[in-house]
């Protein structure tokens, strides 16, 4: 079961308790000691500190100065921030559906008892491991550069290319392509999900005269919706936080003309290049709220399209 499935079922499940529970508290807290420390010192503490800082002006040089909701008011009028949100939304809502669609399509093709499954799976999965590295971003910068690989290839067909990365209208697309390129990880998850569909259901549908397409759309797809949902939630959260590739390809600026200025990149620039820590903290909390809202929408909408077979 996935982490999401776990969360879903927790509401309905009773956790065992009783007389034995007391005797194990000490042992449990000992085993959880590192985790509790981490939760306090690394996660929740900084989260709350970050919430406080978002109401302050803080440049690291002098102590934080409380300024109320000024940072948030500044955010409303910050054009670069609006632009960075637009860039991020575009990236998330184009690359994730395309990536998942491709992942699902290939998983379905691979699942049809084709020989060489594990070989293909490896080939398609490898980019997922490489995709977030600086090395691949370096490669992308060359491949989509003015004299890069793509333009050399286009040249063979007599097509005049352009500097895909230096042109503001196409720079973001190269990053979207990079994210789509890493469809292997969700594909493996889809494959695992497809394996769990009882063969019996498909046989029953076949005996009842369902065509290939009917079997896919009426049996396979509904049974796969929890996995699609899981992939969707995770990939959206993940894509909202993309940073490295845009940073490398734009040399840390989010250029050209802010066209690859991801929200996280702008946050980094405000906080760690301009040392505008209070503003960065406010931006970070706003990001958390955005991700929270989209995750909540996803969960709410899942009632209408996700089918749980239990």
């Amino acid at each position: 079961m996935s982490a999401l499935g776990e969360l879903r079922s927790i509401g309905t499940k009773k956790v065992k308790g009783g007389s034995k529970a007391k005797t194990e508290n000490k042992a449990a807290y000992l085993f959880l000691l590192p985790w509790f420390l981490g939760l306090g010192v690394i996660t929740v503490g900084p989260m709350l500190a970050s919430l406080y800082l978002s109401f302050t002006k803080y440049t690291l040089l002098s102590p934080p100065e409380f300024i109320g909701i000024d940072n948030f008011i500044r955010m409303i009028g910050d054009e670069r921030l609006h632009n960075s949100l637009g860039v991020t939304f575009m990236y998330v809502f184009v690359s994730v559906p395309v990536q998942l669609g491709l992942a699902l399509a290939l998983a379905v093709v691979l699942n049809r008892g084709l020989s060489g499954l594990s070989f293909y799976r490896s080939v398609f999965y490898l980019p997922s491991l490489l995709g977030s590295s600086v090395a691949i971003a370096v490669l992308w910068k060359q491949v989509f550069g003015g004299q890069g690989l793509v333009n050399v290839l286009l040249g063979f067909f007599g097509i005049e290319g352009r500097g895909w990365i230096s042109d503001p209208s196409t720079a973001l697309s190269t990053l979207i392509i990079l994210n789509v390129w890493t469809f292997g990880a969700p594909m493996v998850i889809f494959l695992a999900g497809l394996r769990q569909i009882p063969q019996m259901y498909l046989e029953a549908a076949e005996v009842d005269g369902a065509t290939k397409w009917q079997r896919f759309f009426r049996v396979v797809l509904p049974l796969l919706t929890p996995i699609i949902f899981f992939n969707l939630v995770l990939q959206i959260i993940h894509a909202f936080q993309s940073f490295t590739q845009a940073f490398i390809i734009s040399g840390g600026t989010g250029g050209p003309a802010d066209s690859t200025l991801f929200y996280t990149l702008y946050l980094y620039n405000r906080g760690f290049a301009n040392f505008d820590m209070g503003y960065a903290a406010a931006m970070a909390w706003f990001l958390l709220v955005i991700i929270g809202i989209f995750t909540a929408i996803n969960f709410w909408a899942s009632k209408y399209w996700v089918f749980y077979d239990d």
Partner: protein
């Protein structure tokens, strides 16, 4: 499987059996279908998959091939055939920055090892508690643990950076490794919880009857049985830490402390159009460990993301 599900599948099975009895061709038909329809169609599928695979790997293969070519050829030759092997990119690239590339590799290895050990120890301990022990508030701690998987790092990074920099930990590996020692990679806790749940409880009970306390049950019964989950954790930690850029960018600012991703970035910023060859060569060097881990740890990677859906 729930009760209703068992019943419906039993019913389906009964229907199937009766149909099979009626139609003698059923088995033959099903077998042919299972083989993937006709031969040309399967061939077409293979061709399509191979083309897609090649298309995906082509940029990476080209990177490797190009790193063995003179720089001016990189910008005109899209082919994958090397006419004259050229290793000078590697020797040049190794020494382009202020320290030789081996320094950055060593730094990355140290960070990665620290993170692996930290994750293995702390996450397995937490997982044991969540999977096997009863304690007050367990349900809610577990929910909190699962929620932190989805928490963006940005919401904690500003105060964390302030804290670590005031402790004088900038330009040390502590800010990168300490969070792992404190089990903040909840993803792995969850992965291990799932795994431990699959280990028969009778084994714990037997050990308990023999007088073992929880530390011994954990160390001598559970840990040896959860080696696959530990391997998955080690491998994912390796890849994620090796590729990690954001936190290393924040905490490591001195060139001699640079890890491989930071070195590559510095290399690229210093690169004029003439030294793409050495840059490509060092990019390849930085990908080799990932590729090796992928090659030898594939089984654990696939199992890991199949059960928990990591990336």
């Amino acid at each position: 499987m729930t009760d209703t599900q068992t019943r419906t599948s039993a019913a389906t099975e009964a229907i199937l059996v009766s149909r099979r009895a009626v139609d003698p061709n059923w088995r033959k038909l099903a077998a042919r279908r299972a083989r993937g329809r006709s031969r040309p169609k399967a061939l077409l599928k293979h061709a399509l998959l191979i083309v897609t695979g090649l298309l995906m790997l082509y940029p990476v293969l080209w990177l490797v091939v190009s790193s063995l070519r003179p720089t001016d050829e990189i910008f005109r030759n899209p082919g994958l055939v090397i006419s004259n092997l050229e290793f000078s990119n590697y020797t040049d690239g190794w020494t382009t920055l202020s320290s030789p590339f081996s320094v950055f590799l060593l730094n990355s290895v140290l960070v990665v090892l620290g993170c692996i050990v930290g994750n293995l120890v702390s996450c397995s301990m937490a997982a044991y508690a969540f999977a096997r022990l009863n304690f007050s508030g367990k349900k809610w701690w577990f929910v909190i643990m699962l929620t932190t998987i989805m928490l963006p790092i940005h919401v904690i990074i500003v105060p964390q950076y302030i804290l670590f920099s005031q402790l004088g930990w900038v330009n040390t590996f502590i800010p990168l490794i300490l969070p792992k020692i404190l089990a903040t990679d909840a993803f792995f806790v969850f992965l291990m919880v799932q795994f431990i749940r699959g280990i028969p409880r009778e084994l714990d009970e037997a050990a308990r009857l023999d007088g073992c306390g929880h530390p011994r049950i954990f160390a001598q019964v559970i840990l040896p049985l959860m080696v696959p989950a530990l391997a998955t954790t080690a491998i994912f930690t390796f890849i994620w830490t090796w590729n990690d850029f954001f936190s290393q960018l924040l905490y490591l600012t001195k060139p001699e402390m640079y890890t491989v991703p930071l070195a590559l970035r510095a290399f690229m910023d210093a690169t004029s159009s003439t030294s793409w060859g050495p840059l490509f060569a060092m990019s390849v060097v930085s990908l080799v460990p990932i590729f090796l881990v992928f090659l030898f740890g594939q089984r654990f990677l696939i199992a890991g993301i199949s059960t928990t859906g990591g990336k």
